[in-house]
Structures are given as structure tokens and as C-alpha cells.
Amino acid sequence: MMGTHPMKLALGPLLYYWPRQSVLDFYADIADSPVDSVYLGETVCSRRHELRLDDWLEVGDMLNAAGKEVVISTQGLIESESDLKVLRRIVRQSAEDRPGFRVEANDMGAVRLLGEAGATDWVAGPTLNIFNPATLQLMIDAGATRWAVAPEMSGTALAAVRAALAAAIETEVFAYGRLPLAHSARCFTARHFNLQKDTCEFRCLAIMDGITLRTREGEPFLTLNGVQTQSARVHNLLGDLPAVRQNAEVLRISPQGSDTRRVVELFRAALDDAQTPAAALAASRELMVEAPCNGFWHGRAGAEQYVAA
């Protein structure tokens, strides 16, 4: 083993809007893949309804039966009372009906509701803006037992936070996928089709990896995914695993339109020393929808692909 502790693999929440059957097939395939945790639920847009919360919970039951840890993620941007209703249901489900399911809190409203419900085993999500030991400690005191680090945080910065904690918390790093960079009230996919969000005709449905936005020189720059803006490049830490595993216990892989399972298997092989990080990175190239980047991990512009000299 190249590291000192076993590493878990987590499959992040599905950020795109896929047809119902594609989603169900995707998770059926994941059930016997080498991931340990699976994050489920709609985190991007409340208008997306191919799967409702009950459907997500059923997928969770299936994955749980297959031995996976299930985490239900909450929506990143809460705008309306109906968004809050879903949030309350997620918290209640976890507290009462499915005590095995953890919740990933993606805004402070979720943190408040989890506190009210007395939850003591939740995941502090990447959009909570936890950048220093004091804030992380507040979340730990409020019941967080895993910290999903904001992708923009560098390896050095997160190591400094961990070193300053009184007691360790399981730490999860965004290790693979197009980076979720921003949320808006505006839907950029609807805007692209000259539609308004309220009458969007669900045009993001079946755009499996989002829509690539290029500069006027044709360079892929960002990805439009409804109200979310992602990187065009694929954040990929396969080549950085020796350093990453010094500072994390869980690696998050973000679902993509195809070959997600093969990406998971590459990470597992690299973590188990069946493949060197360099070889795993090389093998992952044909699975990526765009060129790789890893700048955030190295404290640089996120779009950079940095290789230490």
C-alpha cells in the first residue's frame, strides 16, 4: 500500500439531468462497482423531476442493500418554501425512516434543520465555505462527521486546517470530474435556448455532460449545466494521489455521461497499488470528456494542469 490508511471512494451526486431510465441503469451498474459511498439526490435545480425524492430514496435502498453507504445531498441554492419542504423531508427521512442514510448539508439552512432534528452524523458539503479550523470546528460541534472540502481549496490549505483540529474529521476531496464552480438563480441552459427558467422546456434533459462554453478562440473554458456553471476541463487528481492520500480519507468522483464506472475502477486500482498514479492518469485520458486540470489542489488557477518540476 502506498499510503498508511485505507482510502474510501465516493460517487458524488449526479449533477446533470439524465432521463429516468438512464439514471436507474447508471446506479444499477454502480451497485457492484468499487465505490464505498454514494451521494444521491438533486443538488442543482428544483425543476428537475425525472426522479423525485422518493425515487432517490429507493435507489438508496437498492445501493444500501448492495453494501454501499448512502448519503442524501441537499440542494445547493435554496430559493423557495417548496425547496425548504424537500430539505425538511430529507432531514426527517434520515432521522426517522432511514437512519442509515446520512445527509450532506449544502447550505446553512440544512445545518439548522439537522441541528433541530438532533442529527449527529452528517456530511458538511462543499458549498458550506469551510476554509479554516474555527468554522470546521463549529460544524463538528454541530454534528458533522465528514468534511467534503470546497474544490477551490489547495492541498496545503486543507492540510493546515486538519493539523489545527483538536480531533480529526474524515475528509473528502473532490478528485475527479468537471468542477462545480458556481450557482446562479439564472438558468444558462434555458438562456442558451432563448427560454426563461420558468418555461425552460427542460432543455437540459439528456445533455449528458452539460454544454461546453468556449472562448472566441475556440478554447473550451466552462460548462453550462442549468443554473450551475462548471469547468470545461476535468479536474483529475489521479496523478497526485500520493499527496492527496496524506490529507484525505475519501475521494469524490463526480458522475459523467459515460465510463464513470471505469474511472472508479482506475482510482481503486491506483489506490490499491495495482497501477501507478502516472499510469492511471494516462489510462484515464481516453475516459475524460475534456483535457485534465488539477490547479486547485496545487494552490494555482483551477484550469491549470500542474506537474511539479
Binding site: 468542477l179 450557482h183 472562448t215 483551477g302
Partner: protein, 336 residues
């Protein structure tokens, strides 16, 4: 009769602060000359003597000073932020505008008398989120991100005891504040951690045969034909190609202007209106403060039902708007 709406104006410098006060701001907001605030630009903000003078100037005229410490410190630079809080307490500012819960915890323990406002960078868009900060840190006011429609804003106000402040005018963030890493992705510097979006040191203006090109850390943000006004390359306001169409894919260069919503904002119980623009000149501050003061005075004198926007106000505000145009942003649902 509800309490009058406070006018909260930007002070990027001591001259801007005095201008805002002289033209009728109820409050000014400002920051120190470092990464502790979200307008960390060269030549902007206050050193300690300027801060002392600014606070004295405002207080002598019965106005309030709000200090923005609204970025997120990290483990290695944490003391710079806590020292900034200590200094703010010493200078006698009327409130701190904070985003980071860890800093709120420090402020409530160390300076329990200090009034706390939740910054827009805290990304609190629901009353559940706002009430969490209120219960934990006794925040008295929250600044809402520019993402909610007017009925959604009203719903928040109706469900919290915390005063609500909204943006009324100025540059428009199209993304949820505090939830945007676009600048970090392109340049390595972010509003969250460095207090800067699309920072000037990464900007290049290049005259080329194809037109004036603006770049951010080498990335082409826009290209302007002869006669087109070349705007600053804020990266969400560039023109990009999507499926072979070239357009402002995220947002046009435009300013938020909610003057016409003022009666409605008063009816739903908004407590304060924030004018964006600490990076703008004292002339901008004078122009915008004057118009909004007149509008708020008219509203206070005649009530919401009798209020109407004078055409001259809009003309004055459009003169200083980004792209010389304005929008109601997310307050108006079709914008979304």
C-alpha cells in the same frame, strides 16, 4: 408606519466616504487595505488613520459606519482577520459585515458588544439559513444574495426577526455570492479567499487586427469591434461561443437598478438598501447617493402608494451604470 429604509453606500476611500455622507447616506460600508474584504483592489480601502478619520466624520454627522470583513480566512492567515475585528472594535464602527462563521464566533466571544451583519458572501438565501446565524451569533441583519425574486424576498422577511438588507443598485453578480469560484478557476484568486474577482493584475488589453481583445490570465474574455466600448473583462460578462453561437452566455455588462421596486421593498419590510461600488469613484458615489436619497425621502414623505420614479433619476443612474444599461435582476422572475 414601518421604520424608514436605511441607505447603505459604498466607501472605497476617504473622499468617497465623505461624499456619501454629504449626499445623504445613512450608513457607509468600507474595508481595510487587505484581503479581509471582498473589494481587495489596489488603491482602494482604508488604512488605520483613514479609518479613524472616516468614522469620526460619519459619526459627527449622525451616520453609521459598517466594516466589511467578508472574506474567508484560512489556517495560515487567520490572525489577520481576527486582528481586523479587534481594530474595528477599537475604532468604534457600528457593525461588522461578516461571512465566515468562525469569525462570527470569535467576534461574539471577544467583542460581545459589536453588532454583526451577515454578508452577502455568506450565501444565505432562506430564512432557515439566516435564522441559523441569528441563533448562533445573534446577527442583527442579513444581506441577501442577488438571486431571489421579490415574492421570495418577502417570504424571507416574513419568517425571520433579522433585518433584511438588499442590493438596490450597482454591479450585478449573476452568480450566488460566496458560491462562485469562476475567478479562482481562471486566475487562482477568488472573492471568497482573496477578496477579488477577475483581479486587475491578470488583465491584458490587446489591440489586434481582429479588434480590442481583453484577457484574464491569458483566457480570451471578449473581443470588441471598432467603435464598441471595451469593458473590463469580468469573466461572467464576456462573450463566448456556445454551440457556434457567440453571445453574452452568462450575463451582459449591466447594472442592477431597483428604484422602481422601492414601494414594494418598503411594503414587504426591507430594512436597508445597499448600493454596490466600493471600486467606483467619489463622483459615482455622489451621483447614486443623491438620487437614492431623494427617492427614499419621497417615499418616506408620501408613502408607498404615492411613490413614482422621476425620469431624471433613471437618466442620472443610467449615466453611471455598467454598460449604460440596467436590469431588475432576479427580483424580476423572467431574468432568471
Amino acid at each position: 408606519m414601518p421604520a424608514p429604509i436605511e441607505l447603505v453606500c459604498p466607501a472605497g476611500s476617504l473622499p468617497a466616504l465623505k461624499t456619501a455622507v454629504d449626499h445623504g447616506a445613512d450608513c457607509v460600508y468600507l474595508g481595510f487595505k487587505d484581503a479581509t474584504n471582498a473589494r481587495n483592489f489596489t488603491g482602494l480601502n482604508f488604512d488605520p488613520p483613514q479609518m479613524r478619520e472616516g468614522v469620526a466624520y460619519a459619526h459627527a454627522r449622525g451616520r453609521k459606519v459598517l466594516l466589511a470583513l467578508n472574506t474567508y480566512p484560512q489556517a495560515n492567515n487567520w490572525p489577520s482577520w481576527t486582528q481586523a475585528i479587534d481594530r474595528a472594535a477599537e475604532f468604534g464602527v457600528d457593525a461588522l459585515i461578516l461571512a465566515d462563521p468562525g469569525l462570527m464566533d470569535y467576534a461574539t466571544r471577544t467583542h460581545p458588544q459589536l453588532r454583526l451583519h451577515l454578508s452577502v458572501q455568506g450565501s444565505a438565501t432562506s430564512y432557515e439559513a439566516i435564522n441559523w446565524y441569528a441563533e448562533r451569533f445573534d446577527i442583527r441583519r442579513a444581506v441577501l444574495p442577488r438571486v431571489l425574486s421579490l415574492p421570495q424576498v418577502a417570504h424571507v422577511v416574513a419568517n425571520t426577526a433579522v433585518e433584511i438588507e438588499v442590493f438596490g443598485f450597482g454591479g450585478l453578480c449573476v452568480m450566488v455570492e460566496g458560491r462562485c469560484a469562476l475567478s479562482a478557476y481562471a486566475t487562482g484568486e477568488s472573492p471568497n479567499c482573496n477578496g477579488a474577482c477577475s483581479p486587475g493584475k491578470h488583465v491584458r488589453w490587446e489591440e489586434t487586427p481582429k479588434g480590442m481583445e481583453t484577457r484574464l490570465n491569458g483566457i480570451l474574455i471578449d473581443r470588441f469591434a471598432d467603435g464598441e466600448r471595451a469593458g473590463y473583462p469580468t469573466l461572467c460578462k464576456g462573450r463566448f461561443e456556445v454551440n457556434d453561437e457567440t453571445y453574452y452566455a452568462l450575463e451582459e455588462p449591466t447594472s442592477l437598478n431597483t428604484l422602481e421596486l422601492l414601494p414594494e421593498l418598503a411594503r414587504i419590510g426591507i430594512r436597508a438598501i445597499k448600493i454596490e461600488g466600493r471600486q467606483r469613484s467619489p463622483a459615482y458615489v455622489a451621483q447614486v447617493t443623491q438620487v437614492w436619497r431623494a427617492a427614499l425621502d419621497k417615499l418616506a414623505a408620501g408613502g408607498a402608494d404615492a411613490f413614482s420614479v422621476l425620469p431624471g433619476w433613471m437618466a442620472e443612474l443610467n449615466k453611471v451604470s455598467e454598460g449604460q444599461s440596467h436590469t431588475l435582476g432576479a427580483y424580476y422572475r423572467p431574468w432568471k
